[in-house]
């Protein structure tokens, strides 16, 4: 990718479009199947879900443009921890208790894959 002035302006334009899109998502709250609408504080929980979407957008930017592999690995690790909090909020907002099971399984799988990929990052193979 060229590092000219036009490419930099294009990248900042794409980033601004993504941020404005997620902020509009926070304001209007689509996808009504994510909510259980009889709760009294459902407005707060709906906005909380889209704030986590905004954080996931920032993490995916780092996965897309990491200069090295370690940056992408750090970003994937942070994404795995964010998804656990997302599943915890879905547990309250939908009233279905099996979402937290998905969170536990995702935490386990994320930890093991992070250890394996960081071992791969050393360039010495898996059996040291």
């Amino acid at each position: 990718m060229t590092n000219s002035n036009g490419a930099k302006i294009l990248r900042r334009f794409i980033g601004a479009i993504l941020l404005i899109g997620v902020i509009i998502l926070i304001l209007i709250r689509p996808f009504p199947f994510l909510f259980y609408p009889d709760l009294p504080y459902i407005g707060f929980l709906g906005r909380a879900i889209y704030i986590i979407f905004l954080a996931c957008t920032l993490v995916l930017y780092r996965v897309w443009r990491g200069p090295t592999g370690a940056d992408r690995l750090v970003a994937v690790d942070a994404l795995g921890i964010l998804i656990v909090g997302f599943c915890a909020i879905l547990t309250i907002s939908t009233g279905r208790s099996w979402y937290i099971d998905i969170g536990i399984a995702w935490a386990l799988q994320s930890f093991i894959s992070t250890l394996a990929l960081s071992k791969y990052l050393q360039g010495k193979g898996f059996d040291e």
Binding site: V59, R62, T68, V74, A78
Partner: protein, 111 residues
């Protein structure tokens, strides 16, 4: 009342998550990004899980969220240490504003 305290915990955790991810984008180095991405996001997610426990109460989902807090607090430093060690051994340079590198000094004594 415990619902309100739980929602306060969830909002504090959302703030920690968001600023941790902002640091992941803005900081200049792998080792600097590891600070923001691991510590801040882990604390924020643990706060969200504790708020979930306060809202849901002593049910199966609440006890599973407490179990998730313990699991995250045990495993996230291990993963961060493994990433930092792997990145340093892979030869990734530090940021030019970094002033000290203790791990390179210690590694000279190893075999």
């Amino acid at each position: 009342m415990s619902n309100i305290i739980g929602l306060i915990f969830i909002s504090v955790g959302l703030a920690f998550d968001f600023f941790g991810c902002l640091g992941l984008v803005r900081l200049p180095d792998v080792y600097n990004r590891l600070q923001a991405a691991t510590k801040s996001v882990t604390l924020g997610t643990c706060s969200i899980l504790f708020g979930t426990f306060l809202v849901v109460g002593f049910t199966a989902a609440g006890m599973k969220s407490l179990l998730s807090i313990i699991f995250l607090l045990l495993t996230s430093p291990v993963a961060a240490h493994a990433i930092a060690r792997g990145a340093h051994r892979a030869g990734i340079k530090l940021w030019k504003g970094s002033i000290i590198d203790r791990y390179a000094e210690d590694k000279e004594g190893e075999t």
